[in-house]
């Protein structure tokens, strides 16, 4: 699966677009897994951007690292996890000047967390380009214990921190880069609807 048409939902739910080359003095592209495809498409449309481009890629078992590296961007980093890439993302944003263009692509968790970093660096969130690719799994926050569960792909799911059965809401927080998970069996503990894959 390379892209997914999310059904229309509440206003809080992020909406993703399609990455397109933009004028700028530098380009920061951050992707995980199948997000590589969106970067390859931008590079094909505007190869002149590459000497000004910094690509930060978290492959997560996807086989696209060599394809991205062979684009020969100004800087290329590939790392095992978002946490491993984070110091580099922060350094890239701290050193950046106005004129930078930000492109985020891959899973919602990657897009949301990287967007949060760019926002904290003072970049307007609505000026950041995003394109969803790959898994529809979500980064969820348990509203009860505040713990984050990554890569949630079923509804309901069990909070990895407190063990409550949580309902997957579309209510999203840009500040937390997470959707809200709410206890689904609070009134009648144990009465939990069957677990279904998201969007099944």
């Amino acid at each position: 699966m390379s892209s997914f048409a999310f059904p229309t939902s509440i206003k809080s739910r992020p909406v993703y677009g399609t990455l397109a080359p933009r004028d700028g003095s530098a380009h920061l592209m951050i992707a995980d897994a199948d997000g590589a495809g969106a970067i390859l498409a931008v590079a094909k449309a505007a190869p002149t951007l590459l000497p000004m481009t910094h690509i930060i890629y978290i492959p997560r078992d996807a086989p696209h690292t060599d394809a991205l590296r062979s684009l020969k961007p100004a800087k290329f980093y590939s790392g095992p996890s978002y946490a491993a890439a984070l110091p580099r993302i922060r350094k890239a944003l701290a050193d950046a000047r106005m004129g930078l263009q930000v492109y985020l692509t891959g899973t919602e968790g990657l897009i949301g967390q990287a967007m949060n970093e760019a926002m904290q660096a003072g970049f307007p969130h609505n000026a950041i380009q995003t394109e969803h690719r790959g898994s529809v799994a979500r980064r969820m926050q348990c509203v009860h214990c505040k713990g984050i569960t990554e890569d949630v792909d079923t509804d309901p799911f069990v909070c990895v921190h407190c063990g409550l059965n949580l309902f997957v809401r579309d209510h999203y927080s840009r500040r937390l880069a997470a959707y809200q998970g709410v206890c689904i069996d609070a009134e009648t503990p144990g009465q939990v609807p069957p677990r279904k894959a998201l969007y099944s």
């Binding site: 000047r97 004129g99 003072g122 970049f123 307007p124 000026a127």
Partner: protein, 320 residues
């Protein structure tokens, strides 16, 4: 009555800064404090000019947290419709006037990491209040201020004296020009640019910033358009069932108000969108001058901003 809430004030001080610019200070006539505001806000000053009511917006330049008095600086425009001439020639200390509550269409985006101010001429005034606001909260800013020459550079000495490291002055007569492309290129991520000055300067900054990849959300500008004179025309106000004549030197909005029809407004300068009016029918052509409607709206013949735009032709019927 339309517009922001009104405040009865007394003129408490008038200072001529130079050949063209004079500063006015207002205090509440009945005593007491004025509302605080945010840097970039303006007030609409009501003038009774020999029976003609003029309502002109002026940026507040005093400290936004100083509630004792408001100050504005007015540049005399000898070719204008008379508002600034009235302020310069007729207003005296002790006069009672009416001003509106502050309205801000040019506020700081406090999410910015740095504020880059570009002023042209009298466009310095909103920045004076914004600088005071930022000084209070320790904000990071930088000012590039272009003026014709030292004699006409209002507040140049105050700014360079108080903020020597943040203030950069350019005099046109000395062929000093802001090196804009270079200036924009060096700014740290999270900088917002604000420009206030003549239309040419605003367009120059907006276009240069866009070409350099600055997001639209980081470029802020304010230009108050004075309604320009034009050929007289006739308008039918469908809701009020009145036919009015718009004179050569008054705006459509002013003519509507003169006819006793209460029409909404805030900025009276084509920026805020408050006076947007639906057109029911027309035969002729619009002279759109606002910054509010987009090109499609202008071409549609369905909307007009009566504060600055005019009409030439046979008939115009408005939903007012």
């Amino acid at each position: 009555m339309s517009g922001a809430e009104k405040i009865a004030v007394t003129v408490t001080d008038i200072v001529a800064l130079n050949e063209l610019v004079t500063r006015f200070e207002f205090k509440r006539s009945k005593g007491g404090l004025l509302p605080t505001f945010s840097g970039g806000a303006h007030t609409v000053v009501r003038m009774n000019d020999a029976g003609v009511t003029r309502l002109n917006p002026y940026s507040l330049m005093s400290d936004p947290m100083d509630q004792r008095a408001y100050t504005i600086s007015v540049r005399r425009d000898d070719a204008g419709r008379g508002g600034s001439l009235f302020m310069h020639n007729k207003v005296k200390v002790g006069d009672a006037m009416t001003i509106s509550y502050p309205v801000n269409l040019f506020s700081l985006d406090l999410r910015a990491r740095k504020h880059l101010f570009l002023a042209g001429g009298i466009g310095i005034t909103p920045f004076l209040a914004q600088i005071k606001q930022l000084a209070r909260i320790g904000g990071r800013w930088e000012l590039h201020y272009a003026s014709r020459n030292a004699a006409l550079g209002s507040y140049v000495d105050t700014l360079t004296g108080r903020y020597p490291n943040q203030t950069h002055i350019y005099f046109d007569d000395d062929k000093q020009v802001i090196d804009l492309a270079h200036l924009l290129d060096g700014q740290p991520l999270g900088t917002h640019v604000y420009v206030c000055g003549p239309k040419g300067m605003i367009d120059w900054v907006c276009n240069t910033a866009a070409a350099a990849g600055w997001p639209r959300e980081t470029v802020h500008y304010e230009e108050f358009l004075a309604p320009r004179p034009g050929k007289p025309f006739e308008v039918k106000l469908a809701v009020s069932n009145k036919v009015i004549q718009v004179g050569e030197n008054e705006s459509l909005l002013e003519a509507i108000e003169r006819a006793g029809v209460d029409a909404p407004y805030l900025c009276r300068g084509g920026a805020c969108g408050q006076c947007e009016t639906d057109v029911i029918g027309y035969d002729g052509q619009f002279l759109h001058r606002d910054h509010w409607l987009d090109d499609a709206d202008h071409a549609s013949g369905k909307k007009i901003m009566p504060c600055v735009s005019r009409f030439e032709g046979k008939t115009l019927v408005l939903d007012r």
